[in-house]
Subunit: 76 residues, 2 copies
Amino acid sequence: MADVQIRFGERLRAVRQQRGISQEKLAELAGLHRTYVSSIERGERNVSLVNIERLAAALGVAMAELMPDEAKPPAS
Amino acid sequence: MADVQIRFGERLRAVRQQRGISQEKLAELAGLHRTYVSSIERGERNVSLVNIERLAAALGVAMAELMPDEAKPPAS
């Protein structure tokens, strides 16, 4: 698993939890499978633009907000 | 082609040109094929996290800087 996948998964989970949304609800809002969202959060997926955009839209944040840049402060 | 792919391609090209780097040089720096970088800029690729990170590192920008959020000002 690429480190960037791990960091993206952590970032996604942090933003999702901040918003008080379950994995199941996020999956429903984004039109993705719950198991897929779960595997993203575990860092197992090399998520691409189309799904990054879906996840960001479902969470009501900019795509840039989900990017796991090292300099970004912890979201939790 | 997804709209987000088009917007990402435009964003990548704008940032690359701002830095005065050729497609060929960017490809070399990112460890990607020149034809692949070209197709990304044409909006033909659903680029994933690992390659977004490579491109950002090669350009010396944060991954978030490459995200084509609608609210982002034109980079050109």
